[in-house]
Symmetry: D2
Subunit: 329 residues, 4 copies
Amino acid sequence: MNIGIIGIGRIGKIHLINCLSHFRQVNVTAVMNPSLGGQEFARSLGVTSASADAREILENPDIDAVLICSATDSHAEYVEAAARAGKAIFCEKPLDLSLDRVRRTLDIVKEYRVPLMLAFNQRFDPNFADVRQRIQSGMIGDIRSLHIISRDPGPPPISYIKKSGGMLMDMTIHDFDMARFQMDCEVTQVFAQGSSVVSPAIAKAGDIDFATVMLTFENGATALIENCREAAYGYDQRLEVFGSKGMIRTENPLKTTNSFSGNEGTLHARNLGFFMDRYAESYRLELKAFFDALQNNERMPATGDDGLKAMEIAAAAHKSIQENRPIML
Amino acid sequence: MNIGIIGIGRIGKIHLINCLSHFRQVNVTAVMNPSLGGQEFARSLGVTSASADAREILENPDIDAVLICSATDSHAEYVEAAARAGKAIFCEKPLDLSLDRVRRTLDIVKEYRVPLMLAFNQRFDPNFADVRQRIQSGMIGDIRSLHIISRDPGPPPISYIKKSGGMLMDMTIHDFDMARFQMDCEVTQVFAQGSSVVSPAIAKAGDIDFATVMLTFENGATALIENCREAAYGYDQRLEVFGSKGMIRTENPLKTTNSFSGNEGTLHARNLGFFMDRYAESYRLELKAFFDALQNNERMPATGDDGLKAMEIAAAAHKSIQENRPIML
Amino acid sequence: MNIGIIGIGRIGKIHLINCLSHFRQVNVTAVMNPSLGGQEFARSLGVTSASADAREILENPDIDAVLICSATDSHAEYVEAAARAGKAIFCEKPLDLSLDRVRRTLDIVKEYRVPLMLAFNQRFDPNFADVRQRIQSGMIGDIRSLHIISRDPGPPPISYIKKSGGMLMDMTIHDFDMARFQMDCEVTQVFAQGSSVVSPAIAKAGDIDFATVMLTFENGATALIENCREAAYGYDQRLEVFGSKGMIRTENPLKTTNSFSGNEGTLHARNLGFFMDRYAESYRLELKAFFDALQNNERMPATGDDGLKAMEIAAAAHKSIQENRPIML
Amino acid sequence: MNIGIIGIGRIGKIHLINCLSHFRQVNVTAVMNPSLGGQEFARSLGVTSASADAREILENPDIDAVLICSATDSHAEYVEAAARAGKAIFCEKPLDLSLDRVRRTLDIVKEYRVPLMLAFNQRFDPNFADVRQRIQSGMIGDIRSLHIISRDPGPPPISYIKKSGGMLMDMTIHDFDMARFQMDCEVTQVFAQGSSVVSPAIAKAGDIDFATVMLTFENGATALIENCREAAYGYDQRLEVFGSKGMIRTENPLKTTNSFSGNEGTLHARNLGFFMDRYAESYRLELKAFFDALQNNERMPATGDDGLKAMEIAAAAHKSIQENRPIML
């Protein structure tokens, strides 16, 4: 399988290295990056064709699939172009910050009948994937509730905040997708509260940095989500599902399994640093899932519609905060 | 200090035994119980005066304080009588199921200026008390959120449900009080969802058996509470506070500290059985707090007003579920 | 059942309170204590007969059983007197520091055919008792090894050390008994190393404060024991059994179930303070076992022979350290 | 840096992949493997020079360093040849099963003054490395004891056992090295017990499958080691160090951080499968340490002498079991 990668930034580099190290049936035929840095990075790893022109990928008939890892505001455009070129598509989330544009882009993808996977990498985290598998096996019976706590170690720069679409669309969206993924059904109502408790600069930029959300699902279950842009003790990503037959909890992976017992008590290690460490394996496994689905001609394990649904929940949560009332979906 | 105990049922017996075993400065002068069983239980422990007539306690000038452990619908009446008799009062919660009656009773208590402690025993659980102490010490900085999960091992009989005032007033009320206790400020808004997922008989009796509540507090923080009348894995009482400087979590005490590692993984023991085990120490410590406050002439650590506030939150939560909207307080 | 208690010191007080609080079928008829303090303590709890003369207990025909909680060097004498008086006997360990005297005392107990329980309280700790029950159930298959770590929070006063019979006879003896209790068979060989790492004063008094012991058992399994008179992080009492089908581990009970996550990692509470807290329940349960065995006319769950065997292991360990070689039993 | 790899078996493949994926400053110039399989594996990864003749590596003047991953009985020969050829050497343990041969080989390495690193990979495990770092920092004060439990999930084939040099030389040797690594001083006495409890076939082959060892160190501290060729619950590699200021414990990494709470209690995941998973990162980090030491011209972090010392301890342990007495070193 020949692939091209559009965008060799932070996440594009991860995918490139994973392709080279772990998927030897996959050949990285060409990469595109607007600036020289990304091109040179790819060349140093033996990718001979590296340019600033995406057409060298999109118009190359040998290339079967495209990984789109460029800036968010170019995702929709490249997805549409790749669809028109008949390529299978793996795209970083979100497709676009505008719901309308996302719907239009998905229409085009459907028209050209190309496979599209949206990179909800947390679905492929071995812990979270194991939770879903156990739920599906009936181990906890009927789901009654889901709790997700998701806290970043610290806020991103204000420049990032301003282009992010807001915390709900940028950060909580992972939890909205995770909740749908675990519940395996749709949200019917959203109630949310949001505030700025971390940084006045974020409030000044018109965004929130703390949110709590209560989602009601078709199956009658409730999901309680808390999000914060900062946690003094580091990256915190936990999930807990409670059902009629039991409960499953996911704890944070730690830096080491060591503890020190001293006068104050017993001290365990900090959580793994941030998403690059915490989700390293999920980045590899989501690519594997993409390549496997392509090879076996199976349904993509995270689709454009999944992205759309999560965005709709985020939009409803935003409205709920604005109007201080539950929003139906 | 001479005390009388009104009501020698399940909880009255616990208090009686604790008085005899742990508070030797306290003399149980008389007990009252409507039926013979409770009277005989007290006599077998050496309490000579045991009758079915509360006046033997209320009219005995030697008795300084009264523990009211009778049926809920008699609490207000006994509290009022004890106030009029000038006794210090320790009363099981709730004072009454009617907010109006509670307000009237508290007015009488104030009129007669007797000390009244309402038995929110969970405040005295060493784990939860330690959490509050750490919050007050500034250890976690400004509180951002509080998560409480409270699940019973199984539902009570329908006969109990019918007289309970409903799950919010009977069970969640502990969590409303706990949230106020930890936050150390008042609730401004309540949003709740409730359903019946455990037992159709509970639904038929007009009650819910599962609820999720989002409380907003004066300090800007949010509390997320989940309650269920049943948990397949046993009694579950957890709390987690997140602040600007860190997080405190309370896990469930277990039956043993043993684990078994076998082919399936490592199995740890079940949680302690139910509130009689889980909160055994809190029952002793709340009595100690009552006696200490009396002796030192200090403010009671849980007052009638605390009971009233928790009931007002429960009433607002009920209304929120009925009208599917947030309710201001 | 009428009982007398000889010796109202630290441990005698615990037994007295437990008798009064938890065993209402048991009547504490009389207590003996050489000094007034213990006598007054007993009187304040309603024990009317309290004197400095043990004959008031031993010659009272109404008394069925005697708890011997006096100084170690009087145990053998009182046990022999109680045996001659036909009383059932519960005696704190050890019977005596001299193996010869212990054997003579046990001969007298056998001659008079009175029941004798030796107070190896750790056998009745719910965690350790649960371990044994699981081993007996076959859960871990054939035992391969047992690891015991037993560390005190700090050393006792030198005056205590000097009368203690040495660390092996005073402290490690609990672990020798625990190993026999779990293995359910006898030790065939002892190899030990001992040193003084905690306190030069202990070395000067001719004792060790740190020891490691390797025991070989009849069933082919090995026990590894470590003992230290001091641990900077507090009282540490752990046990781990490994068998052909799995492993059971006992962790230390902690002061609270709370943890604090901050910049350094996650800090859990210290272990329970010392044996008075850690083994509080075992003191109650060993008395229950004694009274139950008496009432049901059953074999005592910890016998004088158990005490003798543990002392023989301690003596062999001492010899092993002296001669730096394994000692057969 | 140009390197050659001699032996592309299980461990050689791991090193080859790590070189290609993680050490891009390192160029794998040539590999040698006696059979075609390993050669083809290397070619598929882009290594052009792959043959059955080690001279193509040893006589290639461009090659700076050699990784020796061939069968154990060829290690000494290749190390000597590489030393004579002036190459830096990274060699899998052991250098040889004969202490004499190891000493002769080390003499030759010293004569030719080439750097030699012996692959004690567990030293580079992030957990164990962190333990050492903390010990060195003084965090636990003076070491009093070290406990190592090391149990394999299941025994290797008898064919492997027969060529292994015996369990002490093949498996426990890792723990002897780990104990020296953590203690940072030498062993003075060894006492060991060994038996066959797992497999009669292993006993028939003249080997043991279970051992307990008590090591005494120059610093006065004791190490207690337990080894077993089988554990029903999977691979178990734990370490615990106790010092005057506290204790450090290393727990096993688990397959997931998930737990399931149900009727039986709370079940946590199994340990990571076997050394390939458990020590995956240590294989990468030991290579990094080798390349770093070469580049910075520093002392190798695990030397031939370290291998020799560990073998001497293993030989003493063997003798101790044979003669049932402590052996001085």
